[in-house]
């Protein structure tokens, strides 16, 4: 009796799983506690938003884009507006550019603070989760004060913004930012100096610089691996060209780049401080002026109706680069719209990150890229157009193949 023994087994996690907050399916090849291989499959929350967008004019699409993601409810409509402004050659007033930066950075702070809490929750450090939600509440109060509502800001307009930030609002913004600054210092001490956090995150989920470049990682995930990539600096949009800031990589704080989960925590916490400084710079430098290039929406719609062109919009969302493609063909409705959310680029880096890790590290490694599946699922591919019609012979053949696979 000399039968070959199988040393690995398969472990599916997802699409709905308590350890993962997002509908994504991982198929792990496990040897004991070690992960040997990972397969990621997506497509569980495809909603057909782009198709719905083809029956709407650009102004209606703004609110549809806002609903692509709850946390990035500002960067998606803004990127769409950037694309439309590019295709229609609309110049945005300077004052509006600064207002746009302030809202973008506010969203980044909210998102990173929320992420820090979720990451702590994934390793069982729930008291930090509540601390971060307390901080986020202050920021949502500020958002509410600036735009009227807490999450869906509804502030984007093609050619500008819908609500102004007047000098009377500055003291309230500064007061909130000072509070956040003090609290973030505390949060940084708690997360980065705690022994438990260090034990769980250092040397865990490593993504090397080469692999980050090869797999096209974006945003904080790439920057934590030492890749200097940031759309705000690489392709200056809004008022970022006038502001003073640098690429955030973990070596600023620790002096070296490991590319592990700990580095991703460092990058995000440093970016909170960077965003606060950017908002402060905006408040001092903001010139007075109009908030929108064309206040008459009816005229704007009539102008857009005549345009036959295509354009792209790129923006640094809290999770990385978000990309929108829009085409208009001298029609009331948009002809084509394509969205690429940052998580899409951060899916492949999961594979090297998760390999040779332990099962218990899956949640924190998966959460460390801040994945958002609802934003990502844009396309469903049906292979060879016959994935639903398997005939008898083929099924039998597959069955034999699977038996062989299991035996070896």
């Amino acid at each position: 009796m000399n039968q070959p023994t199988k040393t690995t087994y398969q472990l599916p996690i997802g699409p709905i799983h308590p350890a993962l907050k997002e509908p994504v399916l991982f198929e792990f090849e496990i040897d004991g506690e070690q992960i040997i291989d990972v397969r990621v499959s997506l497509g569980y929350v495809h909603r057909g938003i782009e198709w719905a967008g083809r029956r709407r004019n650009p102004i209606q699409v703004l609110y549809l884009a806002e609903r692509i993601c709850g946390i990035c409810s500002y960067c998606h409509p803004m990127t769409f507006a950037l694309a439309v402004e590019r295709l229609a050659d609309i110049e945005v007033p300077e004052h509006a550019q600064y207002v746009r930066v302030i809202h973008g950075e506010l969203e980044r702070i909210c998102s990173h603070i929320l992420w820090a809490g979720v990451a702590a929750h994934e390793i069982g450090f729930d008291s930090v989760l509540f601390l971060t939600w307390g901080l986020r509440e202050k920021l949502l109060d500020l958002t509410e004060y600036l735009v009227g509502n807490r999450i869906t800001k509804g502030i984007t307009m093609i050619g500008g913004v819908r609500r102004d930030i007047t000098p009377e609002m500055h003291p309230r913004i500064k007061e909130s930012l000072d509070f956040i600054k003090g609290q973030c210092e505390k949060l940084r001490r708690i997360l980065l100096e705690d022994k438990t956090v260090k034990m769980r995150s250092q040397g865990c989920g490593i993504l090397t610089k080469e692999e980050a470049l090869k797999l096209g990682a974006v945003g904080p995930t790439a920057r934590a691996s030492g890749v200097k990539i940031d759309v705000r600096l690489d392709q200056s949009y809004f008022a970022y060209g006038d502001l003073d800031f640098e690429y955030i990589t973990p070596d600023i704080l620790t002096g070296r780049v490991n590319g592990d989960v700990y580095d991703r925590i460092i990058v995000r916490l440093l970016e909170i401080n960077q965003s606060i400084s950017l908002i402060e710079q905006c408040l001092t430098q903001m010139p007075p002026g109009p908030i929108v290039s064309e206040p008459k929406i009816t005229k704007l719609l009539a102008d857009l109706k005549k345009i036959n062109n295509e354009g792209i919009g790129r923006m640094e969302a809290p999770r990385g680069e978000v990309f929108h493609y829009v085409k208009m063909t001298a029609n009331e409705y948009i002809y084509a719209w394509k969205v690429r959310a940052p998580t899409y680029a951060n899916i492949m880096p999961w594979v090297p990150m998760l390999k040779n890790q332990q099962i218990a590290d899956i949640p924190i490694v998966a959460a460390s890229t801040d994945p958002c599946m609802s934003c990502t699922n844009r396309v469903i591919v049906i292979e060879n157009k016959k994935s639903h019609s398997l005939d008898k012979e083929e099924l039998h053949q597959r069955s034999i193949e699977k038996t062989r696979r299991l035996l070896t």
Binding site: I59, S127, L131, E137, V147, G154, R163, I190, D194, L301
Partner: protein, 133 residues
């Protein structure tokens, strides 16, 4: 440091909770009974946190001012507005409304505005409270 969060957690024990207990301090044993009592006026609900200045709540519609230009229908992202041909007035279905206030911006006679009313939960999407006309 071994337990960095410990001082914060202990301090938190002696702080007043931040949460505003709306609409009742404790969950009532019967929600229906609670609602009936509120309607009768025997008990009062805990007031909600005050909404901000530019809050986008239930739409207010000034029917007299409306000229029936149909511009709001053009920009409504969720197609929540219906045009009544014979009257030349509009009808807004709040069950579909996304509260973006785009119709307020485009209205040439400013007959639409946003109120601060946000308690709009209902079991019937065509109920009287959810239709503005």
């Amino acid at each position: 440091m071994r337990f960095t969060m410990l001082p914060q957690v202990i301090a938190q024990l002696f702080k007043k909770p931040f949460t505003n207990k709306f609409p009742a301090k404790y969950t009532p044993s019967s929600t229906r009974q609670f609602m009936e009592n509120v309607a009768k006026g025997t008990i009062h609900i805990n007031p909600p946190v005050i909404t901000p200045e530019h809050f986008r709540g239930k739409i207010r519609y000034d029917k007299e001012k409306c000229i029936g230009c149909k511009l709001c229908l053009q920009v409504c992202p969720s197609e929540a507005i219906e045009f009544k041909e014979e009257e030349k007035k509009i009808k807004i279905f709040l069950a579909r409304c996304t509260f973006c206030a785009q119709c307020n911006d485009i209205c040439p006679v400013s007959c639409l505005s946003m109120s601060d009313e946000f308690l709009l939960a209902d079991t019937n999407k065509y109920s009287k409270d959810l239709i503005v006309e």
